[in-house]
Symmetry: D2
Subunit: 346 residues, 4 copies
């Protein structure tokens, strides 16, 4: 039984981790860390857990945690994981960080986009970017996994094969992303009130969203060069789900079948990536509650562009589900353990 | 492995059955019956099932089905199950009917409220009302289980202990129920369009809803006499969930602790019924996707009434989940098998 | 031109007042009071007002306001209006208080339900309860109008004729109310976040909601005696709208036509009350954005009860619209001025 | 008093026309045409109109209508207006067609994208494209106005000044549009059911949506050459509103101030176009129920692209509001008459 500690267990991502781990079968949450709710029963913070979780929230003490568990998930604001981790801790436990602290290799890029000083840049070289379908082998050997961002996961998985194969010009990439509101977290902010979000759609952080350099770095590896792209997130009046609509110029004339073959080459054997049938567009409802990424594309011969579409559940494949997938890789479990969830509809 | 056939597999309840049975471990759907989608791939009707269900929809042939499976679920409009079932079929398979055909013992009551001639009244005496927590032992012996209605399940479970113990006057019961829109089914009706349901709440079928006699019959058994009550359903702009708010006059002065003790007596050991902590009101979001019924109550000394509240997921405990629970009882499985789902939030 | 000051102009009700007064034609908001946003442009707090309102938010200074305007609307938390008003102010301006401070005549009842000391009980006798359809003549003469609560308006208007005529037993009244989320205000509270409200319904303040004594007092006047009743509010995932479903025992056998005639007697000439056609249930979407109250009823001969239903827009007839209606009465304007709004659908 | 006839009065756009014309003051709907609801009271189709509209639905007889009214609005499916209009009718009444029949000058383009034979191509030359802010003078002289599409209005108004001034390369335009569900009409289709739309976002008609050639034609006039662009619509779980997010390459280095000056040059005096303050992104909720188009932009120096954003209410500026604006121009009314509506929030 893998002993698990969660720092930040009372955010939406932390709570989703608890839900998923309850169904894992070989993992058990031993530490429900939550600075805001210390000594409060977890099931009083999340009433869905009543009679399911009996534990009480604890402080965010990574040193103490390292003595008690096999793996620590940090589902906390940026900067916290980097400020707590050290060599001693890493020698004792695996860490899967759901924040951005170890996602970007270049510390100056991190500090510029996040406006934070990085407290543990010495661990950046060894941290592995935890996008399982692409870095599977490296993850298995890691001590510290940087769990990718929600927008990032969906964007990269959607674009990766075509960038890697040079079918699209990566510098023409425009990613228009739409997210459900759970991505905004559980903080009590006016902007996230029901009446402010409902019956509305808006773009935010235009040309400045922090997931941009993360996408650029990872797709840059695929392209074999540095790239820049446009990324625009939007807030949608729904709880869960991310849809990305991606535009790129084709580098050459390609047919539907050729592009489909490229996707199949990379994802044909991937359990959690579903390249849909021709002309079936990804929709967030079809992946809700599951670890799937649904992908499809449409060639527009009029403009010589291709439109790519990808959909995930931001709390599962975009956060907690991918974190569990990473845990499975780290501990030699079947990669899909605890994640074979049928999307819940409606 | 229990072989399962579903007649009406492409309604919301039928699809939820498929989702739940996929996670059961000892049951397999062998027949996806759907008169509307014969020969169409199931995963094209419900795209969430892509790469999960490879089967194609078949006709609703109960005779043929009876040769091939161990249990048939009928998730069909009223009248269909009664028109298809016969002694030969019942001698070969178990039937769990999610429609109302076998819920009401008095055929004249059925025919009056449903406006239908009952085609198989001869099976009414043996049919067992499949409210697991109350009829568990009878269900185990049944051939034909009448799976309760969604409003009914929530209403009866919420009221049962207090009616049974005579703490409330059953003839003063007023049940004000609120349901998500999946309860209205997947038919393409103007009234169920997004723009008609969203940003709206309404009552419907006031004083005439068909679940009324079903609740009256079952609570009448508990009361030991015939009762009449008011039941008013409302349509709420959400996908899943039923909340009932029940009002009744107390027959005597009781304390919080006394009422709590009654609930605990009946439900203290029930895995799927959670009597909440004092002053924590049931909310549909805390049971979404799960088989739980959450219950609580508030005594109003000013009016000598008690307010009971109950919440379920209408597609799980109110339909498919309870049907699987019944299947488990019929086949000697652990009653909770495939149903130990943590409610999904948000 | 009536000069208007608003104290609490940046809450949802205050903003709705601004919207309605913009279309009034003979009223102009001269003072946008908002303690939270002093010196901020109003249109930056409510972007819908961009290029429509050029003003900046001011402090909540009632003394100063009284010098500058003809009428003050207080759309503030309980207690604030009572703490600011005095004889000097009342001698200079009319006050329409959208809080509860002057709604309840018995100061001890107010203090018990609101948990506040009343700072100006001396004005309670002269304050007029501003339910226009019932107190029209008194309002015309008032200096201080207590604008009714949202739940209260809908509940009282729905029940009033039948209570007044003794057709129902007022002590059997059970009011099950459902409200959109704007009724919860614009405060940044976790409970009102999109992800907490969406896909959910819950009861709250069961048997303890502060609108209860207000309804009891007003319906008590109609009944000619003190009454107690049950009132249960619910939070619905929509922005606007209140629906009440009311249950009461009939005092005698009545026909549909007899009850309809009673409603017509009281409301037949009322512009803003629509008694719907037989079997058409009120729905919140049909009154959204308007000052209408839609009402209907259903007799249930099985239980000898009647089910009444009423729907309003909580921000219009339940707050700002009724406040403008009161202003029109106070200033001798046509009562419907600025309020002849066609409900907006969808 | 302008006498108005509506063909297609029971669609969402038709009903919005009725709402707006009720508040116009110098126009009156004399004919509520609705083939689906002939002889049914209009207020029974749209219960919000109860006691406001007493009329009964009539057939879609344009010949007869032409005798009785001054202007006919056709809010009907594509092809219907073109099949009914003739010289005799045009000599008697003005026609404002809310369908696509007269929007595209090149009949072969229309026939290709709409898959319909055009029944009245002879009127294409004289039809005026009714985008008021751009074609104001021509509209005043027209007999037949082609009211622009909803996506089209928002897209063109957002891009027009920058295309016209050559600041962006029109062939790099990528328009990612998001629409509320009322844009899908009131037809009873499975895809538009509440449970299918709620908690979901999807793209549709990718690279094939019929508004594409309309946008290309109009922006082509501004660019002074034929252009092609990408347009992708998405369905959002909300009733009203369109947001477009537009990406384009800059033709030269420009500052915020330079671009702002261009917008101000074209729109500075436009009552219904609001170019927002720096870094305030358009949101659909801020224009809901009103005739405004809210616009803003963000320069991304990293990619040398500009991101434009525009928001409208699809039923007002995107349909009925613009139609009324066109009517005002046709009849010499003040252009904003009946349209000075404060956006309704929340």
């Amino acid at each position: 039984m893998i002993k698990v500690g969660i720092i930040g267990a009372t955010g939406y991502a932390g709570q989703e981790l608890v839900r998923l781990l309850k169904g894992h079968g070989n993992a058990e949450v031993k530490w429900f860390g939550s600075r805001s709710y210390i000594d409060k029963k977890y099931a009083q913070v999340y009433q869905n857990m009543f009679e399911i979780v009996e534990d009480t929230c604890l402080d965010d003490n990574m040193e103490e945690l390292a003595e008690q568990v096999d793996v620590i998930f940090t589902a906390t604001p940026q900067g916290l994981c980097a400020s707590m981790v050290n060599e001693d801790i890493l020698s004792k436990v695996k860490i899967i960080d759901l924040s951005a602290d170890f996602r970007i290799k270049d510390v100056s890029v991190y500090e510029e986009w996040y406006g934070l000083e990085h407290k543990s840049p010495q661990f950046l070289p060894e941290a592995v970017y935890g996008l399982c379908e692409i870095n599977r082998d490296k993850i298995r050997q890691a001590r510290l996994v940087a769990n990718p961002g929600c927008y990032t996961t969906c964007s990269i998985l959607t674009c990766y094969p075509l960038v890697k194969e040079g079918i699209i010009d990566a510098n023409t990439l425009i990613i228009d992303a739409k997210s459900g509101t759970s991505g905004a977290g559980r903080g009590a902010k006016l902007d996230n009130l029901f009446c402010e979000v409902n019956e509305n759609i808006k773009a935010y952080a235009v040309a400045t969203h922090r997931h941009t350099p993360e996408i650029e770095e990872q797709l840059g590896y695929a392209a074999g060069k540095e790239i820049t792209l446009n990324f625009t997130p939007h807030l949608v009046p729904m709880n869960r789900g991310i849809l990305v609509t991606v535009y790129a110029s084709l580098t050459k004339q390609v047919s539907y079948e050729e592009v489909k073959a490229v996707y199949d080459k990379y994802y044909g054997k991937e359990q959690f990536i579903r390249v849909l049938e021709k002309d079936v567009n990804p929709q967030t409802r079809w992946v809700e509650g599951s670890n799937y990424t649904d992908i499809n594309f449409k060639i527009d011969p009029r403009t010589n562009r291709i439109v790519l579409m990808g959909a995930i559940d931001n709390l599962v494949k975009g956060a907690a589900g991918q974190a569990v997938q990473n845990m499975n890789l780290l501990f030699g479990e079947k990669e899909s353990r605890g994640l074979e969830l049928v999307p819940m509809f409606p």
